[in-house]
């Protein structure tokens, strides 16, 4: 019975979705005159000197969204910790170590993965990638170590420091713009020449901060969840 209702509901949704989207032409230039897309592309190249226009949108034009997004991750890590928190575990954790091959492999890969992550977020304004991508790559590096060594410890204190300082950098860069008489998150540094590493004013700095923050937060999330082990009754 319930299935039938759901299927009818889905059929209605499907009908309208198909109806609407069949009228939106794929790959067609829909916007004439002034529009957000052309404005962003133009300003990204000429006013901000950032070659990756997705980065300039994420960090500058719609930087407020990104601040919110970083906050969502931060709060998700907080809420997750609050949900899974227990004062003390009962009994002994059931754990196993990965084989030697996996462990040495993980050890070997760990540093290159971190380096790759750092590369991705430092070059976020020049090439595809950025804080979110780089941060996630760094988190996967830590994930590898956490999986290979059951007793691999990530210091909670260090994570908190990195997370907080990166977040504070983001927020203070925004507020600095306000203090200097401009608007929140507005660029106040020289913009350099396009396609240089040092270009785009505060954009790369913010994206690097985002990279650190996302990396620390995702590592924290994974660490919290992985520590949620089965306990032997004792």
């Amino acid at each position: 019975m319930k299935k039938v209702i759901v299927l009818i509901l889905l059929a209605v949704v499907a009908y309208y979705l198909v109806d609407v989207f069949s009228q939106i032409k794929f790959g067609e230039n829909r916007f004439q005159g002034e529009n957000v897309r052309d404005f962003y592309l133009d300003k990204s190249k000429n006013d901000l000197h950032v070659s990756n226009s997705v980065t300039s949108i994420v960090v500058n034009f719609r930087g407020f969204d990104t601040l919110g997004e970083v906050t969502v991750l931060f709060l998700a890590a907080t809420a997750l910790g609050s949900v899974l928190y227990r004062r003390k575990a009962h009994g002994e954790a059931v754990l196993f170590n990965a084989s030697t091959i996996v462990r040495s492999g993980a050890h070997l890969l760990f540093a290159p993965i971190l380096l790759l992550g750092a590369y991705v977020f430092i070059h976020g304004h020049l090439s595809p990638g950025g804080g979110f991508q780089g941060g996630t790559i760094i988190a996967t590096g830590f994930l590898l170590m956490l999986l290979a060594y059951h007793d691999y410890k990530v210091s909670h204190g260090v994570l908190t420091w990195v997370e907080s300082l990166a977040g504070l950098t983001f927020a203070s860069l925004g507020l600095t713009g306000l203090i200097l008489g401009k608007t929140f998150l507005e660029n106040f540094l020289p913009i350099g020449t396009i396609n240089d590493l040092f270009s785009g004013g505060i954009i790369p700095i913010i994206y690097i901060a985002v990279g650190f923050k996302v990396g620390a937060e995702l590592t924290g999330v994974l660490y919290t969840m992985l520590n949620e082990k089965e306990y032997k009754k004792s």
Partner: protein, 125 residues
Amino acid sequence: MSLGSNLDLLTVTFYGTAIALILIGLYAALVKRSLIKILIGLSIVDSGINLLLVSIGYLKGGTAPIFSPAVIDKNPAMVDPVPQALVLTAIVIGFAVTAVALALVIRLYRHHKTVNIDEIKNLKW
């Protein structure tokens, strides 16, 4: 790499796949009784939505919206970067919500020793 010919066919493929994913995911989320299956359904819906959003931003013959040294002087047509930025946000938010949801599932399992929705019924559903 550009998607030149057969634009009609590709329209059907991308939009169709995205809508199919949304519907399949919604079906799983609404019908299945396992909490984890419900969340799998929701994450499939997210995938569908993201695909739809990026497809809308595509421009025939456009390049990626990056002014790399190779293309900067040619002034090529570029795909719309705005939906890409939105999807970037949506993906990260989706992950955050999924992680919190799974933590809740673990907590529910600790209490009820089950993840079946029919057996977790202290509150009315």
